[in-house]
């Protein structure tokens, strides 16, 4: 049964998109920086910019919400809300990462790195949980968000280390792997989405960016990186271009998915049935161990 009225959602605009672009890249940067420097601290510039990116993402979200001064309420629902979880991970990540950057405690550095990965994962799950937006709820979104985050983070790290003259060769080998992972995720994501009931507009927009995303954003940087490893003379130049492409294409892809290909589910008539429906009780009936009791809520907001 064809659905109707699937226009573009307007609740999450470029600001929300920004959180996925910068926050995702930043989180991955935390991970890769940690991995790259372990057991030592990453260069403070690298470390801080990774946090700055995450912070920028969160700032943009804060600018979008209707009741910014209640921002703390975001922490009230860790049990099921991936937004609470992202927020919580972020809150732990910041102090740990800062400590990791300035006091060389390997455990903290490692932990921060893992939290970066967790943060990235949360972002994937946030999108997957939006049942109203076919382009987001597609399960393939999770690996895609992680893959592109890793590409972006690694790409940024490569660029920064190049600037700091501290390049690490293995990054130039892992990035092509991430890119391959991203390309694969992108392709499966798109095929699965096409197979699902995604709005035609959504598919059209994604098809629109497909060639450039696949070739410009994945194949070309992949080839450049291979070339980089084969032509020692041009390594840093080619790797630099490849890294930049990997980052920008990722951001462009995420911006498109969040801000442009986010047509709503739409309405539809369903399959006709006869007779009494077999009804399921409201989930809230199973005495929800999760909900805070009212008093706590009241306290929480004052």
């Amino acid at each position: 049964m064809n659905s109707f009225g699937n226009e573009l959602q307007t609740s999450w605009d470029w600001r929300a998109a920004g959180n996925f672009m910068f926050g995702g890249a930043g989180a991955a940067l935390v991970l890769m920086a940690a991995a790259a420097s372990y057991p030592n601290s990453p260069h403070w510039l690298v470390g801080l910019s990774s946090l700055a990116l995450i912070g920028l993402g969160l700032l943009l979200v804060w600018l979008e919400i209707g009741r910014p001064w209640r921002a703390l309420h975001v922490f009230f629902h860790p049990q099921t809300s991936w937004m609470t979880r992202e927020g919580s991970v972020g809150t732990v990540l910041f102090p740990l990462a800062l400590m990791g950057i300035f006091m060389k405690i390997p455990a903290l550095i490692a932990l921060a790195g893992l939290l970066g990965l967790a943060y990235l994962y949360c972002q994937g799950r946030i999108l997957k949980a939006t049942r109203g937006i076919p382009a987001w709820r597609e399960p393939g979104i999770v690996p895609l968000i992680i893959a592109t985050g890793l590409c972006e983070g690694t790409g940024l790290l490569i660029l920064m280390l190049a600037a700091l003259k501290q390049q690490q060769q293995w990054l130039l080998f892992i990035l092509p792997a991430f890119i391959a992972f991203r390309a694969a995720s992108w392709l499966t994501y798109k095929t699965k989405l096409a197979a699902s009931k995604a709005p035609p507009k959504t598919l059209a927009i994604l098809d629109g960016i497909h060639p450039l995303t696949l070739w410009g954003g994945n194949v070309v940087p992949f080839v450049l990186l291979i070339a980089a490893s084969l032509l020692p003379g041009a390594t840093s130049l080619l790797a630099g271009i490849a890294a930049a492409l990997a980052v920008l294409s990722g951001w462009w892809m995420k911006f498109t998915i969040v801000a442009r290909a986010a047509q709503v589910q739409g309405y539809a008539v369903g399959k006709l049935q006869k007779g009494r429906p077999n009804i399921k009780p409201p989930v809230r009936r199973q005495k929800d161990k999760f909900v805070f009791d009212r008093e706590y809520k009241r306290l929480a907001q004052d």
């Binding site: 009225g5 937004m83 939006t130 109203g132 009494r276 989930v283 909900v291």
Partner: protein, 224 residues
């Protein structure tokens, strides 16, 4: 126990929007905000065309994605299935809005009125600052239902305990009642008619049912 659901009889609905207007009155929603509205849809190609009016709004899902994603627990659910929003907890992140597969939710950031910046007396009287910057949607007129039940009335049968849109519907297309009561008005309507739920496949278990004629449905399917 009790679970409240609503039924819209698509064979009766004429798209008059009386329910839409009644909801706007009862809940004093801002211009452009329609917790209840009725779509005007068309299928097929001339001359084999079907036109259908379809009331939509919050489906008070038994398993509501909006609630699960809500980071502030502002979106809750009552034992009777009514999905609620606590305007004082809500941070206005709109996560619920994108999580809802039924386009049921709205957010208004700044006060707007029918004729611009300044409210008419009637608007001023009902204006509620709490509604700004937070998610809002159909409440199933929970306040009416509760007030009615307190007086020992039966929602869906006694007007004072029944949602305003249902009371107002001029075609008697809308019904409201307790689906967990085998003999309630809604249970009987569903037992006697062919019906569907919207996006049932998403597992949201909507508390909103559509009665629809088999023949018409068949024609629509044919014209697709």
């Amino acid at each position: 126990m009790t679970r409240y659901v609503m039924i819209a009889d698509l064979n009766r609905c004429v798209g008059c929007q009386t329910c839409t207007a009644a909801c706007k009155h009862t809940n004093a929603t801002a211009p452009g905000v329609q917790w209840r509205k009725v779509l005007d849809v068309e299928w097929g190609e001339y001359p084999d065309v079907e036109r259908l009016f379809m009331p939509v709004g919050c489906q008070h899902c038994a398993d509501p994605p909006c609630m699960h994603v809500c980071p502030s627990t502002a979106t809750g659910q009552r034992e009777d299935g009514i999905v609620t929003i606590d305007y004082e907890l809500c941070i206005g992140c709109s996560y619920c809005t994108v999580a809802c597969p039924y386009q049921a939710r709205y957010k208004v950031d700044k006060a707007e009125f029918a004729y611009g910046e300044t409210p008419m007396e009637s608007e001023a009287k009902l204006f509620d600052e709490k509604r700004l910057g937070v998610a809002q949607k159909c409440t199933f007129c929970a306040d009416r239902v509760d007030a009615g039940v307190e007086q020992g009335l039966t929602p869906g049968l006694d007007a004072a305990a029944t949602p305003a849109c249902v009371n107002a519907c001029i075609a008697d297309a809308l019904s409201f009642g307790d689906i967990e009561d085998e003999n309630s008005n809604v249970s009987e309507l569903l037992a006697e008619n062919t019906w569907f739920q919207m996006h049932a496949e998403l597992g949201t278990e909507p508390g909103f049912y559509y009665l629809w004629d088999q023949e018409v449905a068949a024609e629509v399917a044919a014209n697709e």
